[in-house]
């Protein structure tokens, strides 16, 4: 029996495998011979922006006779051809101009590989103030609205309601702070709770699908209702390129610098540089490589914010000079200081010319220290009148206004 035992142990299929392999062969054979065949795009991994096409069989999941509340087309049972194919709770699919999110899987209990997906009917959008980017995540707003009684008080009433939001649990959504606000079709809500404790396993401790409770919240002046982004106007970012070269010749090498300001104050942020009809590196060093008559465009970008300068490519140059001030500070709080650097640029190249600064306005509310083309301005008292700084070098002149604000 030795041969038989060896064969049985090492080569023969188990009953389960035999059944499964036969079933797989049957599915392979008839896979295309059905009205349920669909081509969908599957997210390659939780949190990924890459989607891959895959064919599935789509079947209904919710019987509309069970409840008239649920739309049958919002739920699909998706079966995969390969029985070994696995998917995750919370993984996104794209199909029929919608995103779909996996709400149920059957990796352990079914021979075939399938899952239940639900159509995402909205987007969770918010502004990330650290990266300057708007993050948009497909989500499901559940059918039920609860707690419709207004928040009643003797002084004022405010509307009240609660929703459940179903969204993928990834690095962006799992780090959302409580009280974060979102706007859905012009109506704001505040995040009050979620189930980030529902781990996939004791090895994979991520919660890849989140059920978030959000409460109705009043609209605020810092909300962008048109684009459904709450609180975005609290963070006003601007990107300012200091230099302003107007024209140059092909082959010219120069450098541009930029400052990112948040609510008028310079902040340290990484700037991405890009160029058309020129090449530029991450330090802002560029080379014009377009044809005469073209326009080279240099763009500094931080998150959703950018600024560009356009340089006309000419055969020969006329001399263009300007005074460039950096950083372009517009406001200074009481007791704060800023060091302004003033340089003369000739056709985009910094010169060693001396620049003088003459202040006017805001008498007695500031101090100014001249360190030779570097000027340290300190706000010692707030002023209703702005501080006007006029910079001169030879025939060149430029000026900036700085608002001297309160302590906070």
């Amino acid at each position: 029996m030795r041969f038989y035992d060896t064969y049985h142990k090492n080569l023969a299929e188990s009953s389960g495998d035999y059944y499964k392999n036969n079933k797989q062969a049957q599915v392979d054979y008839s896979w295309d011979d059905t009205t349920q065949l669909r081509i969908v795009e599957e997210q390659s991994a939780i949190g990924s922006t890459i989607y891959n096409k895959i064919s599935v069989h789509a079947d209904y999941y919710v019987d509309y006779s069970s409840t008239s509340m649920k739309n049958k087309d919002d739920f699909i049972r998706m079966s995969f051809r390969d029985f070994e194919h696995e998917t995750d709770l919370g993984r996104y699919y794209k199909y029929d101009d919608s995103y779909w999110i996996v709400t149920n899987t059957s990796n352990h209990t079914s021979v075939i590989s399938d899952c239940i997906v639900r159509r995402c009917n909205n987007f969770l959008k918010w502004f990330d103030k650290d990266t300057g980017k708007i993050i948009s995540m497909p989500c499901v707003l559940d059918y039920n609205i609860s707690a419709t009684n207004p928040k009643v008080d003797k002084d004022i009433n405010v509307l009240n309601s609660s929703l459940t939001v179903i969204v993928q649990g990834n690095e962006h959504t799992r780090s959302l702070p409580y009280n974060k606000r979102f706007i859905f079709n012009g109506v704001p809500y505040r995040f009050v709770a979620y189930n980030n404790y529902m781990q996939n396993s004791y090895i994979d401790d991520r919660a890849t699908i989140l059920y978030m409770d959000v409460d109705f919240d009043a609209l605020k002046p810092v909300d962008d209702r048109d684009n459904n982004i709450a609180d975005i106007k609290e963070f006003v970012y601007n990107v300012n390129i200091h230099e302003n070269p107007i024209e140059q010749i092909n082959g010219f090498k120069g450098k541009v610098t930029a400052t990112v300001t948040l609510n008028g104050e310079a902040v340290a942020k990484d700037i991405q540089w890009s160029a058309i009809n020129a090449t530029i590196n991450d330090k802002g060093e560029y080379t014009i490589d377009g044809e005469i008559g073209d326009t080279a465009i240099l763009t500094a970008t931080f998150g959703e914010f950018s600024q560009s300068v356009a340089i006309l490519i000419v055969e020969s140059l006329s001399v263009k000079s300007e005074i460039v001030i950096s950083p372009l500070t517009k406001e200074l709080n009481q007791s704060e200081s800023v060091t302004l650097t003033a340089k003369v640029y000739r056709n985009g190249i910094a010169q060693a010319d001396i620049v003088r600064c003459t202040p006017s306005g805001a008498q007695g509310c500031y101090t100014l220290v001249d360190n030779g083309n570097e000027f340290i301005i300190t706000n010692i008292r707030m002023s209703k009148e702005p501080l006007l700084l006029t910079f001169n070098s030879g025939d060149l002149t430029t000026s900036i206004n700085i608002k001297l604000k309160a302590l906070f």
């Binding site: 702070p177 409580y178 009280n179 974060k180 606000r181 505040r190 009050v192 605020k220 002046p221 810092v222 709450a230 609180d231 609290e234 709080n333 009481q334 007791s335 309160a406 302590l407 906070f408």
Partner: protein, 189 residues
């Protein structure tokens, strides 16, 4: 003298906080608001910038701030910490020309952050903050006609009352000081 227009009224809470931010005697106040542990007073002094970073204006994420210029904090609290609210609570016109303005300081802390080591003695954080505020601000010029005072003779609203909070996880003291305001820039008889 022109009739009272309450011109100085809006500036009072700002003047108070500016004064506290720049008075070295109030350094412990800021430490008690920033550090919620028992050894808060052993921590380093805050810089002016760190102090001002504790003051909330119309910011969305109110949980990052400890000082508010209003009685109402909209966001649900996520942790036990210390909070100070400074706001005008009452304006009492004495006559056509002068009013007494009462400023309320709501001092709140978590039920399990209330004890602090004060010169080696375990004390209530609420009491220590109250004593610092009165020590720094009693009889100090903050923009009114007279001085900010903790004085029943100025108004009987001046007092400290224990018992604000939410009866579950936060407890606090309400402290009221007052100042007289009037218009002094009109020199006509």
């Amino acid at each position: 003298m022109s009739y009272n227009t309450l011109k100085q009224l809006p500036y009072l809470p700002y003047n108070i906080l500016s004064y506290l931010a720049q008075d070295p005697k109030a350094d412990d106040l800021w430490k008690l608001l920033k550090y919620n542990t028992e050894d808060a007073l052993s921590q380093p002094n805050l810089t002016l910038s760190e102090k001002l970073d504790l003051i909330c204006k119309n910011n969305a994420d109110q949980n990052k701030y400890s000082i508010f210029l209003t009685r109402l904090i909209e966001n649900d609290q996520l942790s036990e910490r210390s909070v100070l609210k400074v706001y005008k609570v009452n304006t009492d016109p004495i006559d056509l020309y002068k009013s007494i303005v009462a400023i309320e300081f709501d001092i709140l802390t978590g039920a399990k952050t209330v004890v602090v080591d004060y010169d080696g003695v375990p004390c209530s954080r609420l009491d220590v903050i109250e004593s610092i505020i009165v020590n720094c601000l009693n009889n100090v010029a903050i923009g009114g006609v007279g001085y900010l005072q903790f004085n029943d003779d100025l108004t009987n609203l001046c007092r400290s009352s224990y018992g604000i909070g939410n009866n579950t996880s936060y407890i606090g003291t309400s402290l009221i000081l007052a100042v007289m305001i009037s218009n002094l820039d009109d020199t006509k008889c």
